[in-house]
């Protein structure tokens, strides 16, 4: 690992000032991606700004209509929250399937969505639920947040504070995990809301995306049978040693079906 200076601000204002003073700095959340990246010398930030010194960024608030999760809340905290299990069991199941227990004890929702790994789980929930990402300066709609592979709408120096997820009528998440890393080869988040059904796919393409054809069919009939005849073209999907684009296209239909069943059963 290249050397760097370390800061642990006690407020967002202090963190923002540090970022302004150190343009080559990186924010450190749970570190589950950043620290392995630094160890491989794939990044060389001048400074790390550790966000763990702000208790305001940690916590879960649940109302009938919305779940608010602080950016520094760990995957384990989401997975084991009784309120989330009651209101949005698909999100608890999603969080419980990330990485391994030790990763879930450190990794955070804010870090995951800011990193925007194409195979991460949380982006599918943010897009699939139409969540809102609250930063130190504005609110960003989930539909606008993920822009490309490892790219988001966040501006330089912008810090995610909270994710606000509307509570749907029903939701499900299913993924075909890479057997070694547990990253999603394909993951599908399906949400039935008062405004219709939303389907978001992660792992299959450079960035998370929605499937309008399946959404329309599922809005008419929320059953696995409703999507049986809908195929997804492989043209823009990822192909790698783990799965070809054609296989990912096939897996999308299978995972959406499983996510629907989860939603129907919970």
């Amino acid at each position: 690992m290249y050397s760097f200076d370390y800061h642990k601000p006690r407020s967002l204002d202090e963190a923002t000032a540090l970022l302004a003073d150190h343009p080559e700095a990186r924010l450190l959340a749970g570190g589950m991606t950043l620290l392995p990246t630094l160890k491989q010398r794939l990044a060389s930030p001048s400074d790390l700004i550790d966000l763990s010194g702000m208790p305001d960024l940690v916590g879960i608030q649940v109302s009938d209509s919305e779940i608010r999760i602080g950016a520094m809340t760990t995957h384990a905290a989401v997975a084991h929250s009784p309120e989330i299990a009651a209101k949005l069991p698909a999100l608890a199941a999603l969080a419980e399937g990330i990485g391994d227990p030790q990763v879930r004890h450190r990794g955070t929702i804010g870090g995951s969505i800011s990193n925007a790994d194409p195979a991460a789980d949380y982006p599918s929930a943010v897009l699939g639920l139409g969540a809102t990402v609250v930063t130190d300066r504005r609110e960003i709609a989930g539909d606008d947040f993920f822009t490309a592979m490892f790219e988001t709408a966040l501006e330089p120096g912008e810090i995610v504070r909270q994710v606000r997820l509307p509570v749907p009528l029903a939701a499900g998440y299913a993924k075909f995990p890479n057997p070694a890393s547990r990253y999603a080869v394909v993951g599908a988040f399906v949400a039935r809301t008062a405004g219709g059904v939303r389907v978001a796919i992660t792992g299959a393409a450079p960035s998370v995306f929605r499937l309008p054809d399946m959404e329309a069919a599922l809005t008419a009939s929320f059953t696995p049978a409703a999507i049986a005849g809908i195929s997804v073209p492989a043209d823009d999907l990822n192909s790698d040693p783990h799965a070809s684009a054609e296989y990912r296209a096939h897996l999308i239909g299978v995972m959406v079906g499983r996510a629907i069943n989860f939603a129907l059963e919970h």
Binding site: M1, F4, Y6, M32, D50, A76, G99, P101, Q102, A180
Partner: protein
């Protein structure tokens, strides 16, 4: 850039304070600064779990944590679990059920298992296997490891 920064934490109940480079990993600090070599470095890429320790009672991979991130916190390593004369119930279970072959992964397996067992007093084999996702035994001695964790969890619940 980068001198050293102070860290002060509790390791196995003992307060320690040092000056470290910010890039010092917790596992490096434990092994090379404190001489606690029971915590192993296996893959060094957060996959294998040989480096698992407890941070405030929760299992974490100490190869993917900076020592400065543990500042002000409590760390427990395999050395803090029991002693040769007075083994922890999970260590006894690994001994009785032969939950090891070469033994390299064992410290991480036991630290992960103790965290698991503290919240799963009567686990099923499937629950144990799912929990051990983050711990790799390259001798593939999983069958006896799972039996050890099941027995250790029940022993901990009785203790």
């Amino acid at each position: 850039m980068s001198g050293t920064v102070p860290v002060a934490l509790s390791v196995n109940g003992r307060k320690v304070a040092s000056e470290v480079e910010p890039r010092t990993l917790l596992v490096t600090y434990l092994r090379e600064h404190l001489g606690l070599t029971g915590t192993h470095v296996g893959c060094d890429t957060s996959q294998c779990g040989a480096c698992v320790v407890h941070l405030d009672g929760r299992s974490v991979k100490s190869c993917t944590l900076l020592a400065v991130q543990a500042d002000g916190h409590e760390v427990t390593t395999i050395e803090g679990l029991g002693s040769p004369e007075n083994l922890h119930p999970m260590q006894i279970a690994f001994n009785e059920h032969h939950g090891l072959q070469c033994g390299f992964c064992t410290p991480g397996m036991i630290m992960s298992a103790v965290d698991f067992a503290s919240r799963h007093p009567d686990p099923t084999p499937l629950e144990v296997r799912e929990w051990l996702e983050g711990n790799i035994c390259r001798c593939t001695g999983y069958h006896n490891i799972v039996a050890s964790v099941e027995a250790g969890a029940r022993a901990m619940a009785k203790a």
